[in-house]
Amino acid sequence: MVRFIIVRLIQTVVALIGIAMLIFVLVRVSGDPALMLATAASTEEDIQQIRVNLGLDKSIPEQFWIFVTDVVKGDLGKSLFKKRPVTEMIGTALPNSLKLIIPSWVLAMVGALLLGVLGATRRDGFLDNGVKFIAILGQALPGFWVAIVAVFIFSVTWQILPTSGLGGIDHYVLPVCTLGFFVLPGMMRLVRSSMLDVLDSEYIKLARIKGLSERRIIWKHALRNAVIAPLTVAGMLFAMLITGAVIIETVFSWPGIGFIIVEGVLARDFPLVQAIVIMVAVFVLGINLIVDITYAYIDPQIRYQQT
């Protein structure tokens, strides 16, 4: 098991370098960083000066080396717009985002698990069609539109929930639900189809032969196997969650990283945007690692094979 974690750690580091390279090349190829850093007022010499201290005159590998060492040291440059080190701005915004992402992730997982399993076990029943309808609706309605409509109904007309901003519990209800709704349908379909596959298997037939109750077969035998498949895609769903977070934070002007990155883009605040993208990459890879470890924990075959 330990060896399995070490292997995965190394792969994660390799992946991180890969992403850093991707971002490094992407930025250099798609525009001239110096121009991006220059404000409207800066003259030709200023831009030349920026190029020098950015080291753009050096060779690409050297530039990459400087880029990587900066990243490792945590010095991601200053925000053009707020004149403050970027890491400081992220520091304040990240906790707010987490306060939004974690609860909606939990809501989505629990919801998906429950509805997925119920949908699979009562095939073509009322509940199953209901679950399918939510899944289709959820994947069809664009998240930002759902958010706006939700605000319109709950905040504007019924006035029971605040329209935006951070605050007490009631501030959390709408953003968390709408964000959860981003991920719930996808995960639910996965759990449902994985559950259906497991229920067709021979060992479930043997469990029935043993005379176990349907409830026990579903929640003890089938569920544990059925959870393995969706876990492999949890990484992808997490990406959808972050995409959703950026949108939800914009609609609810929730002061998280999503909010400041959108502002950063509109203000062409290049260092801020680049820093956030890198930070998210690290975060995503971390989540992938955690998912793989839980994956190994649940499926004994992987746990034993790797040691």
Binding site: R3, I6, V7, I10
Partner: protein, 328 residues
Amino acid sequence: MADILLEGRNLKKYYPVTKGLLQRTIGWVRAVDDISFTIERGKTLSLVGESGAGKTTAAKQILLLEKLTSGDIFFEGKNVYKFSKAELKTEYRPRVQSVQQNPWSSMNPRMRVRDIIAEPLVVNTKQTKEQIRSRVAELLENVGLAPNQADYYPHEFSGGQRQRIAVARALALNPSLVVLDEPVSALDVSIRAQIMNLLKDLQGQYNLSYLVIAHNLATVRFMSHSVAIMYLGQIVEYGDAEEVFKHPLHPYTRALMSASMLTLPEDESEEAQPIILSGEMPSPLNPPPGCRFHTRCTEAQDICSKEIPGEVEIGKRHWVKCHQSSLR
């Protein structure tokens, strides 16, 4: 000397077992561990044994689907591993064909039967569309199918019919040797007989040599001229089929025959008591020392676990690898 078409000499195929971060090789699965055999022109040699015996691995080496760890394959006296790429393409590959076990996965479901049978011709020869079309029709008739069925897709045929199509494909390039990997084990009893008769007729008609991989001894006795009994990567008994089946010498051969014999409980005479082996098939990663069968052998003596038995020649074409004193 009979006309030898193909000879395998001291064939070995080891699969590396890797572990650790850098995938260091820590051991070898000795799937095929030094086996030698000959296939005569127009005759059938069967490799018989249970799972893990290395039969299919041996077949893969003959079909050059994998590279041997060591040993040589001689085709009509010439060492195949010394063939150039071009020679392989003209001299060896078209003349050695195969029929696989599972009729449901041995054909591309997206191709019509016509294209499936024609593919060997299209890939290896410069024949025109018309020549190939007539050849396909002729092949379909040879295997007992109607030429107009050439336009259907594989899923429109039963298991037995698909094996006939697989045989037609194998015959397309007029091969000298056809490797049959469990040709009938996926079929029903009644259909199985049809295909085995067909294979035997075609052997007579085209003087084909067969290398048959099987685990059902009765099928092997019907098909084979000579037989090699394999256990855990090695040949334990080899010889003329009738010789081996009439006087099985190796305890494993006897156990295998007893397990496959169709005897009613009341017909079991005293000496022909069924032989029931104990224990499980050892792992090929670290096979038992000395004679690999000693852990399950009913006649095991202490020498068996120490020395590897040599080949003991019995009849003119019958040898066995066993320390049994009765053989001396």
